[in-house]
Symmetry: C2
Subunit: 305 residues, 2 copies
């Protein structure tokens, strides 16, 4: 058996409620990371934009004050913690790249190595309550070959994507083709309380289903860390509340649920993953062998009209 | 409201057990189609290679006797039935295109119009018990622009794919980008009885999950018609039995299950679908708006190494 047959990681995720006190939010993230590490996690994933309320509920120039540079205060804090605990941390920040240029960015801290990579959210949503196109410039790359690249860390090659990316099979596939050993999605998604219960259930189930499908299609584990709780962003009309549905989960390479948090509880979720199962699963289900790359060119078109 | 807001279809599927009597198998398909039509179906989907046992359990030149031309005896039978009942039928045949050139082909019959299109399976599996690469040449096209094209019928634009295709998000996406209003998968998949129950459950759930995800990713309904029953193909060792898991299902454009058959029962499944929901679902979840076609070029690579 190859050395890779022994490869396991222990993944922790910190699902929490945010409020308008950024120090309090940061404290929750840090406490969750410490708790996960104490339970053996050597990789911890945080929820999307964990330092603040989900300010994208409204469009207001005032919210750009939440942005920070990379490296900056947050990455210094998490780098210090990562080094102290000797674990990998995937944090999620509102990045100020320059005046007038901001991204929704995941940063990967790897112990003494510090920042080992970052990923700027490529697919940016924009729909009622999620006005992200106002705040975030989509991730860019020198060329398509440089886009959707996983990040090498001491625990493995991580396919880090962010929230809305989770609805696009293309992003998952590109990460897998570049050797990602698992997919990680910092997330902020919830219910519009105006939708009826059946619609809410369909949405949550769809969210879970499509991400499990990325695991299946690519033979690698998938994990998403979502925020929980009801939020009304500063300045938002009371009608624009989002009930974040939590339900952070870890799925194995056949899409099977390994661990999942509840909708409404702050949770530190920890589970071990045997990354070497990918080899066996892909031998059973050899999709990479059979992709019809000769016939996929129109995937690069907006519409086939 | 636009006219399309009124568009509904009633889809029937015929899930049955096959044996080595092809007339008997054909009779079951025909009886099932009549039953579905009597229940209001104006579109009926048959399971993969419904005329015979799943002969791909073994590699034997003798099995090429099952192949037939298109048009040929089967399409004549189904065309007559389609015209009589004034419904669309999606049949699945072992096609003899020429000496030494065979395909796994779905044929679409549309009432008095006869054959309105066909789809030659693009992704061909090959693993223990499913030796399809021996029998079937993968579907070809003049160019990638001609591949994965849906077929216009009197009930709508049908994205017809076949079995192993169901594991590839690329195929589903290309059909959707070409305007497919729903995806249909004639299927033959089952359990290897040597696998333990947990593995069997994971496989069946993965099969369901990834197809529901195609519905979600593209905002269109998805249906798969699978065979049921245990089969030992002629000439196959008794150890190579497949327990086909049935479970034929119809999912709506959010991936929600609308109807599903049991694993082990012959079933005529009938359900109505409102195709116009796609417009509303895609306005809620506008993935087509946000695809990063500028960054997807490497989807055309075998591996990003």
């Amino acid at each position: 058996m190859k050395e890779s047959n022994m490869k396991t990681i222990t993944l922790g995720m910190v699902q929490h409620h945010c409020n308008d006190d950024s120090n309090n939010n940061l404290d929750k993230s840090i406490a969750g990371i410490r708790k996960a590490a104490a339970q053996g996690a050597n990789l911890v994933l945080l929820q999307e934009l964990h330092n603040s309320l989900y300010f994208c509920q409204t469009e207001s120039p005032d919210n750009f004050r939440h942005a920070e540079s990379i490296p900056g205060p947050s990455t210094e804090t998490f780098a210090t913690l990562s080094a102290e605990l000797d674990i990998v941390i995937v944090a999620s920040l509102f990045e100020r790249r320059s005046a007038g240029l901001y991204h929704n960015t995941a940063v990967i801290l790897d112990g003494k190595r510090g920042i080992v990579g970052q990923y700027r959210k490529m697919h940016i949503p924009d729909d009622p309550g999620y006005y992200e196109k106002y705040y975030f410039t989509p991730g860019d790359a020198e060329s398509a070959a440089e886009a959707f690249q996983p990040i090498d860390t001491s625990v493995g090659r991580l396919g880090v994507l962010v929230c809305w990316d989770q609805w696009f099979p293309e992003a998952a596939r590109l990460m897998a083709l570049a050797g990602a050993e698992l997919l990680l999605y910092p997330t902020a998604i919830g219910w519009d309380e105006h939708d009826d219960q059946a619609e809410q259930a369909r949405q949550q189930e769809a969210w879970l289903t499509i991400q499990r499908a990325h695991a299946i299609a690519n033979g690698i584990p998938v994990a998403a860390c979502n925020r929980t709780g009801v939020e009304t962003a500063a300045g938002a009309a009371s009608t624009s509340r989002i009930h974040f549905w939590g339900s952070s989960f870890i799925a194995g390479p056949q899409g099977e649920i390994i661990a999942q948090a509840n909708s409404d509880e702050e949770t530190v979720l920890v589970a071990s993953l045997n990354l070497s199962r990918t080899e066996a699963v892909r031998q059973y289900w050899p999709y990479l062998r059979d992709r019809r790359i000769d016939a996929y060119a129109d995937l690069l078109r907006r519409y086939r009209d």
